[in-house]
Symmetry: C2
Subunit: 245 residues, 2 copies
């Protein structure tokens, strides 16, 4: 059995997220497993670097799988590119060491959240941004974001049920940049809890709108209470941007 | 009656082009006229700077219309932004001099044709490019494009029925640039015949692929024969980019 590392991108609009759910659901993992299992005439199980929620996009998602085949990586790639739907792209495929696992071997992930911060229409990128036309105070958001960096229990910023050490993650950096009409939030860390990037973004947006103070973050973190944090920013603005091994 | 100049952008994917056709067709002009006629409680006729075909996009399309109303431009804009579908954006609206007409007053138009020239997948921009993964010789295409510039009868590059002076246009420039995986064709001129930009692009692509010689252009122009020119590049890669008055 050969182990493989596959890098993908996808437009999450049509999907119920990465992770397969039963037989019927429209998921990226499900599409891939079905395609590879048929093409290689063996049951293929795919491990992603992490789940993405329904509607979340991936600029780079990494996954791993084992298969026994005479086909070369180039032949497998040609097959993926021929049969994957147009909203899932195969970026690269390589043989991986036996112990490589897309989730367990990941050391760092980057997510980007895109906000269209203008009352001008956003026609061509509309499926990839969240629209917030009111003015945003970037400095206030940056001050708040600085307090989120470091190793913390992030249970206040998750709708998952994990607590304590299981909900502890290191956020290395949160960059907030304006580029034209767009404000882009870039989160890098060793891992993120369920809905964590979307709730962090929602809370930062409330700071940017002046509905919360920048120095509220420490108290929210210490509360471990989801109710204290801000709204969950919609899925369509979120991209899994990169995974580092 | 006040005359207005309205600048729009649209994603042409869902539309049968700019120009209304009967009562039922899904056209950009039809959508706008229906919306404005209802909102202003009077029949509104809209003149576009030119038609765009089914599936063609507009980064900037300019149109003009006359209306009698107490509403300010800002109020009319708010109304357009509230009721236009998400794939049509109102960029600006201003009062125009009595004699302004979006088509008759236009002095220059720019179209951009976007080609995704890579076998890497194009997931996020897939509705706005034409995919040609084979290598393109940009120098050959540029030499061919140089022979297209100037004042010519372009009937060989149109599926319209115009000939002679009615088919004569001045193409000021054709720029061909690579930006990453994309090759972008920018056509500027005083006007373009029906399908002309798509046939010019298709013919240049055949030069870029080595299926035609760069110096064929003069003979094609002189032939006045559509059969001599290349294929009609698909609508989805084409944008009406700008209109100058």
């Amino acid at each position: 059995m050969q182990n493989y590392k596959l890098t993908l991108c996808y437009d999450g609009t049509r999907y119920r997220g990465w992770q397969k759910q039963g037989n019927t659901a429209q998921t990226v993992q499900g599409k891939l497993e079905t395609l590879l299992s048929r093409a290689l005439e063996q049951p293929i199980e795919i491990a992603g670097s992490g789940r993405t929620d329904a509607g979340v996009h991936a600029r780079r998602q990494v996954c791993s799988f084992r298969a026994e085949t005479d086909k070369s990586c180039a032949e497998l790639m040609a097959l993926l590119r021929e049969y994957l739907p147009e909203d899932i792209g195969a970026l690269s495929l390589e043989k991986a060491p036996e112990r490589f696992h897309a989730r367990l071997s990941a050391v760092r992930k980057t997510y980007v959240y895109r906000v269209w911060n203008s009352d001008a229409p956003c026609v061509f990128e509309r499926k990839y941004v969240y629209v917030e036309p009111r003015p945003l105070d970037l400095d206030a958001m940056r001050r708040a974001a600085a307090d989120l960096c470091g190793r913390h229990e992030f249970s206040a910023f998750s709708t998952g049920k994990k607590t304590g050490r299981a909900a502890t993650r290191t956020v290395e950096s949160v960059a907030i940049e304006r580029c034209g009409e767009e404000v882009r939030f870039t989160f890098t860390g060793d891992g993120f809890l369920y809905n964590m990037v979307r709730i962090l973004t929602g809370t930062l947006l409330e700071v940017g709108l002046g509905d919360r103070r920048p120095d509220d973050m420490a108290a929210i973190l210490a509360s471990h209470s989801r109710a204290r944090a801000g709204f969950t920013a919609p899925a369509q603005g979120l991209f899994l941007w990169d995974v580092t091994y």
